[in-house]
Subunit: 339 residues, 2 copies
Amino acid sequence: VDRMIRVAVDAMTAEKGVQEVVHGAIRALKEYPDLKVLLVGDPAAIQPYLKKQKFADRLEIVAAMEVIGMDDEPAAAFKSKKDASVSVAARLVKEGRADAATSPGNTGASLAAATFILGRIQGLRRPAIMTLMPSSHGWTALLDSGAVVDCKSEDLVQWALMGSLYMGEVMGVSNPRVGLLSIGEEESKGNAQTFEARPLLKAAPFNFIGNVEGRDLFNGNCDVAVCDGFVGNIVLKTAEGISKMIMNGIKESFQRGSLVEKIGGLLSRPTFHRFRKRVSADEQGGGPLLGVNGIFIITHGAATRIMIKNAIRLCHENVRHEMVKKLTAVIEAGPGKEA
Amino acid sequence: VDRMIRVAVDAMTAEKGVQEVVHGAIRALKEYPDLKVLLVGDPAAIQPYLKKQKFADRLEIVAAMEVIGMDDEPAAAFKSKKDASVSVAARLVKEGRADAATSPGNTGASLAAATFILGRIQGLRRPAIMTLMPSSHGWTALLDSGAVVDCKSEDLVQWALMGSLYMGEVMGVSNPRVGLLSIGEEESKGNAQTFEARPLLKAAPFNFIGNVEGRDLFNGNCDVAVCDGFVGNIVLKTAEGISKMIMNGIKESFQRGSLVEKIGGLLSRPTFHRFRKRVSADEQGGGPLLGVNGIFIITHGAATRIMIKNAIRLCHENVRHEMVKKLTAVIEAGPGKEA
């Protein structure tokens, strides 16, 4: 892509407020000279944070006067609030005024806006949220992590096709290993769905390595793991929950410790900082909604400026790698297409 | 219970060997003066480790000349190896020669032996493995964590009944909060199974608090979480996998650190040790198979002596609390009974 990359950012839905989103955008602009950011939302709320920054020529406000909140029922709110910031952001992509969009809001609303406004890739049954989980060796793509519950085996095949392509193209993994998330490595271990899906995955054109277990998401044994969105979302929140519990638990253990331990804690702060940075969701930035006819990155409601910056980076990378074109080709050529 | 509590321990299947099991048993005997341990397995393999210990009068060998290995197909091996150590241990309970049994072997073989030899509690549809997950406030019971995949809603109700009773009786939690593991707290979030199960759980005689998410297993928001064994096993292995990744990652981060950080790491060793001890699976000892007509604790193949000791402690606690009698009563009085 030889021109500016234009990313629409929903500025209204981050829990930490508009300011955090603007700061995230400015960080991204610093990093990418070919980036232009369209801040979508109420100009009166955004404008005050744009003073005294050096990127006026690459930062634009696009007005959207409604907001879908975290407590809104996603589908109903999407229908009734036509001018919601998340919908306007998706529409900018649909109309070719932006190359990609991201929203740190209500996940259901992001799903609705991206799916209904952008539509699906030809032949793709149902889009999936891909999340990159930190592993001891890099990252593991988990999909679906919450878009589709009660999925079909054909969905798993298409998600594996897309995840494998993504890890190869964007993450630079050669011949990505695709696993079916189950309860044991043996073919005999699983549920009705894994038994049905396994032969389809085996026959598909990617490097299928068979069943993988929950621990394989973190030990570098596979690059892509596919599962139903119900399981994937529970896995994601389990991983977030236990990480938080461990990091807080260690902090508390320091607080209860002896003076010597407390000094040890102070001295080892950079260690924790380095580790936390490597595995933090902030660094990953969010998850692409793979399979919609456009680039849309779903990020956390509680996103920090760093996470917003990284969500914009994900948009930038997906545009640069022409992921929609490539995903369309792999779905077109692959098994499991919708009739 | 005013007499000796007799626990049968499968001595042959721990990956760390017979010696580790014997050491675990001796630790338990030190702790519980009313405990008697029956070590089940090949006397020639066990005998050498029994020399020079003070508990000869409370330590007995029961011969079992076959072993089901980790790679054996559980159901087939259970049928063909009648004299397998895990089966002999279960049979001791069935015949009233032991009050409880535990095995650190092949989980499928433990399930088969316990279910077929002990049978189920009257009216109980399918036994579940209960695992206690470490939370910021204590422990959360997760069931089923791998015994039953593709379960029915009535199974979830019975598991919730048993988990709630267990947390109250054994863990001393007053009015345990029972949650249905799902992908959002709202009633509208879930899959076909949670939608069907939710009204049944709401109507049942325990403190049902609605849907809970993966993170609620670790933040103290609920005491019991029920789910299908497919989901539960993936959750359990996800939690184990990410914990290991984090602890190893912090260690590596120290190794890559400056000299100051390395000193910090040395000084803070007791902190980590204390935290690791609090959350380690070793400390919990394993998971009871709730719903079989006898007490059977399933523990890890990789169990250490500490974990074996704690599995024996779990046996002891379950006997002392007369859990089979109480579980039978709660299933008898509860909804969801098998016709």
